[in-house]
Symmetry: C2
Subunit: 136 residues, 2 copies
């Protein structure tokens, strides 16, 4: 259900933070993360849409943090990337003739949402500044 989108986003943000306001190209980011530049640009598109970064087109272009690292909350970053519950959305279709099958998805959803909220709350305790401070 997940891909590595959250990791990629954090990696990008950490690199941008390291650049201290300087502009960084998707090529460079892709080189550090070791993935395809197009994936990086897609991820940046999302980060931009959520106000974490800004980009500049054209020669000498690239991306940079749109706000201070201490104002970027890891829980928010997670949410910006999240598409379905970490514990796995119930895209499966259980047997509607079974009393359990009929209702289980709604119960799983409730359980999963609650658990994921705990996870998000935990992530929200840290900002990008906290996370990036671990790097010398």
């Amino acid at each position: 259900m997940n891909s590595s989108r959250f990791s990629v986003s954090l990696h990008i943000l950490t690199l941008l933070n390291e650049a201290k306001g300087g502009i960084v190209s998707s090529e460079y980011l892709a080189g550090s993360i070791n993935i395809n530049p197009v994936l990086v640009r897609k991820e940046i598109m999302n980060l931009r849409k959520h106000g974490f970064v800004e980009s500049k087109e054209g020669k000498g272009g690239g991306s940079f943090l749109a706000k201070s690292a201490k104002d970027i909350n890891l829980g928010d970053v997670y949410k910006s990337v999240r598409s379905s519950n970490v514990l796995g959305q119930s895209k499966n279709e259980p047997n509607p003739k079974c009393p359990v099958g009929r209702q289980i998805n709604q119960h799983l959803d409730a359980l999963y949402n609650d658990a994921e909220n705990a996870l998000i709350e935990n992530l929200s305790k840290q900002t990008l500044a906290d996370f990036a401070s671990g790097f010398e």
Copy 2:
């Protein structure tokens, strides 16, 4: 990183609980979950290995809960099924020449483990009995 293993396991356990000690075949379980019986048997193998269920081979065989539903903790079930961190294990290999790439995986691991622990703690608040009580 995830599959639907946790959902499948919870579904199985709920059905076994519903059966109140009665023996249930993998065929029946697969029918309610709407997945392949072989997958069910694999999942049961895991549940058995962790002491949640027992099975009986041969004609009239099947599975049943190995202990009371109130002694089956959802956090433990999750752990029995977990193979890598929900937030995505860093199987990616970032550029070791980059100061950030070189260390990011260990930082992500620390962050992810902490967050996942919060999720597990949340799940651990409920037992199978609690979860199954939602079904009439």
